[in-house]
């Protein structure tokens, strides 16, 4: 920090990105200066009549480096989570004969504030030497585990494995009815 012209404050900053090796053919290598580690737990309710998944609680714990602005961090976590929630439950591009059938936000369903679950955030504060002031990325990491956590929670509730997202009501109800048909078919054989 120094003064240039009289009464003008200038701030000079620099960030040196540590050297990293690019991915090789096996997708291995040190690709980033630092890494964020995130974990999430999802608590869901599934309506077996409609197949609708209702996420009640999300527990988020994340290595966030050094926290500079706690409220800004909470915003990043909730925003990332909301994106992950849409990925898990509704967002889907549906193609028919090569044409996108839902090209607007009318049919491509982004979730709204009404769909947000309770977010319980437990930050793990670390000091990362590579990041500025010891901080690291916090906004992208929370959206990565969300879909997996929700899909696993739904599988745990219903006893059906899902191999694709989004878990739309239709997909869930179909899986449920297939499971029930399977059961009755088995019991008939026995």
């Amino acid at each position: 920090m120094h003064f240039g012209n009289p009464n003008k404050l200038c701030v000079a900053e620099y960030f040196f990105e540590p050297t990293s090796s690019f991915q090789d053919k096996d997708f291995k290598g040190d690709v980033s200066g630092n890494y964020a580690f995130a974990s999430q737990v999802a608590e869901v309710e599934v309506d077996t009549y409609t197949g609708k998944v209702n996420v009640i609680n999300m527990y988020v714990s994340q290595d966030v480096g050094r926290v500079l602005n706690p409220m800004g961090l909470q915003g990043q976590i909730e925003g990332g989570l909301a994106t992950g929630l849409g990925y898990a439950l509704t967002e889907e591009m549906i193609y028919e004969d090569g044409y996108l059938t839902n090209p607007s936000f009318h049919e491509y369903k982004l979730l709204t504030a009404m769909d947000m679950p309770e977010v319980h955030f437990y930050p793990i504060e670390t000091m990362d030497e590579a990041g500025p002031y010891g901080s690291k990325g916090a906004g992208e990491a929370p959206l990565i585990p969300t879909a997996a956590a929700i899909a696993n929670a739904v599988s745990n509730a219903l006893g059906v494995e899902f191999l694709s997202v989004p878990l739309t009501p239709e997909k869930v109800l179909k899986a449920l009815s297939e499971k029930n048909n399977h059961k009755t078919a088995n019991s008939q054989i026995l």
Binding site: E107, K109, T112, P169, L173
Partner: protein, 287 residues
């Protein structure tokens, strides 16, 4: 997007504007939540918009409660219905449907008449009104009023029985004969707000003290070309006591409601899903 605009300020001006425009193409706009989107998609050609947002008229703009029926003007905003305590207490189905429609911001500008005249098979408010056996009061350019049951008002997706020289003035709903109600609106969609329903079911039962069904109305939306009033189910229910509906009867009623539907596949959901969910939801009515 290029169009002429006329803004009548009272009923006389409205009728005059309407008769002047008989030979031209025109559209009504009140909340403009659907019209502007439509104009964006299909550029209007030589169209005049009759802007009703500035119209000041008691019959068009208010909810009145007199002479054995409740009258809702077609320019009443959905937020007004949500806030009306009489409707909340006596017609929970209408209150819930208005609350389920789009989002808080849209409910502040969107109007009852707009939702009805759009004649969407998945219209939330229309579905509740069909279950309440509401009556449409339609005004023509000579100032004459025509009454029509709302289930006959809808002719197909986007089609109503409204003629070019007519405008929907208000909706009237017969008041309840019984205070003992079982009434509600079930909307199935992918998200909790800003949603176009995949299946909707509106029900309004008036019961006697012992639980016998005195008056009934059931309407299903988004499972056919128009909103469907389940006449057969209603006739069947009128002979029943709501406390005596057992497992067998419950399933019978559910399949009766299901049989009234004729869903199709679209981007929102498949016909299979609609058919299945309608059955499940109808089943949940008596649980």
């Amino acid at each position: 997007m290029n169009f002429e605009i006329e803004s009548p300020l009272n009923k006389e001006e409205l009728l005059k504007t309407l008769s002047n425009l008989q030979s031209k193409k025109f559209r009504f706009g009140a909340g403009f939540t659907d019209l502007l989107i439509e104009f964006k998609k299909f550029n209007p050609v030589e169209t005049t918009v009759i802007n009703l947002a500035q119209l000041k008229d008691e019959e068009f703009c208010s909810i009145r409660n007199d002479s054995g029926e409740i009258q809702i003007g077609s320019l009443v905003k959905l937020a007004q219905i949500c806030k009306d305590t009489y409707i909340k207490d006596n017609f929970p189905v209408l209150h819930q449907a208005a609350n389920a429609l789009a989002s808080g911001q849209i409910r502040e500008v969107a109007t009852v008449g707009g939702n009805i005249c759009q004649a969407s098979p998945s219209g939330d408010l229309s579905c509740a009104l069909v279950s309440l056996k509401a009556n449409c009061e339609i005004l023509n350019i000579d100032g004459k009023i025509r009454n029509q049951a709302i289930s006959e008002f809808f002719k197909g997706p986007g089609k109503t029985s409204l003629q070019k020289n007519e405008i929907l003035k208000s909706i009237s709903i017969p008041i309840n004969h019984s205070k003992n109600l079982k009434s509600g609106y079930i909307k199935i969609g992918k998200r909790s707000a800003m949603e176009c329903s995949i299946v909707s079911l509106a029900y309004h039962f008036q019961l006697e003290k012992n639980g016998k069904v005195k008056h009934a109305g059931i309407a299903i939306g988004a499972v056919g070309p128009t909103i469907i009033f389940c006449q057969e189910t209603v006739d069947f229910l009128l002979k029943q006591n709501i406390n005596n509906i057992d497992e067998v009867l419950k399933l019978k009623i559910a399949s009766m409601i299901q049989n009234a539907s004729s869903p199709i596949d679209d981007a929102r959901a498949s016909a299979w899903y609609r058919h299945q969910v309608l059955y499940n939801v109808a089943k949940s009515l008596f649980e």
